[in-house]
């Protein structure tokens, strides 16, 4: 990518430095989600059977659909950067818009999923859930926290990409200075990677 160091549009740019800063932030996110994954791993080892049963409460099709959505979203934002760097601003805006749309689809899917679970009485501290064994309570609790926090990250990503769309349209992000879009892309890909791990943990336990 462009490790331009110098001046563009009157202000100093250091793309390599800015990218490294973003990666360092992502490292803190790795530890953040890593802690949650650690909790999941410990309780899965302790309550293996209950976790398997909990997995049957999940809709695998939803999980797979959401994975396809996010993987495609990673493609579109990667393309949007490549397009902009080749000077194709209009197409880049289209690709960024598609990414936002896919993010919104993901969130809409989570809404439908959570609604279904809550409709069945499976929400934290619900009478139905409290009537189940400890392992199942832990599984559902981890499900809500981990996918919920992830969904929050998707929401933030949607907001940030909407902002880069504005900046790209106003030519504050240009083919010579793409760092804001690059870093936004890094964040979005990271959110995708987290979901790649969440899928087998909650949706593919059989």
């Amino acid at each position: 990518m462009n490790t331009a160091e110098g001046f563009a549009e009157g202000h100093r740019i250091d793309a390599a430095g800015a990218r490294m800063g973003m990666w360092i932030f992502l490292f803190t996110e790795v530890l953040f989600f890593g802690g949650l994954f650690l909790i999941y791993t410990v309780y899965r080892v302790r309550y293996g059977a209950a976790f398997l049963q909990g997995g049957r409460l999940m809709d695998t099709a939803h999980g797979i659909a959401n994975t396809v959505i996010l993987l495609t979203g990673s493609l579109t934002i990667a393309l949007s950067l490549a397009l902009l760097r080749k000077g194709k601003r209009g197409l880049s805006l289209l690709a960024q818009g598609l990414t936002v749309l896919l993010g919104v689809f993901f969130l809409a899917g989570k809404y439908v999923e959570y609604s279904a679970h809550i409709g069945h009485g499976l929400y934290p501290a619900s009478p139905v859930l409290l009537g189940m064994d400890k392992g199942k309570i832990l599984f559902m609790g981890l499900y809500y926290v981990m996918t919920g926090v992830h969904a929050l990250h998707v929401l933030i990503g949607v907001a940030v990409i909407s902002w880069t769309i504005l900046l790209t349209a106003r030519q504050k992000i240009t083919p010579r200075d793409t760092i804001k879009l690059e870093n936004t892309g890094l964040y979005w890909h990271f959110v995708d990677v987290i979901w790649i791990y969440l899928l087998p943990l909650f949706y593919l336990i059989t």
């Binding site: 462009n2 490790t3 160091e5 990218r19 490292f27 790795v30 493609l75 690059e182 892309g185 890909h189």
Partner: protein
Amino acid sequence: MAQQEIALPNISYRTYVLVWIILLALLAFTVAVAELHLTGLLLLTSIFIATLKAGFVAIYFMHLREEPWVLKGMLFFVLFMLAVLILLTFSDEWYREG
């Protein structure tokens, strides 16, 4: 500082699409493996395939391939520390009574 613009090679659209197809194929593979009901090995196999997918996203979409070794080293260190965190926790979990 010297004003220099080092333009690293552009990744072609085709490469991005190809990686996306590989990711979708790995997803299909993950689902197929889950259907095999391997139970014990399932978690490890799923995590392994997930790591492959994450690797593709990191190397090609996140442009890790073009980044300097310092950054690649930092990432490996962070992942190593996470692995240590998990392993140390289990060194307690597996051998504690009760």
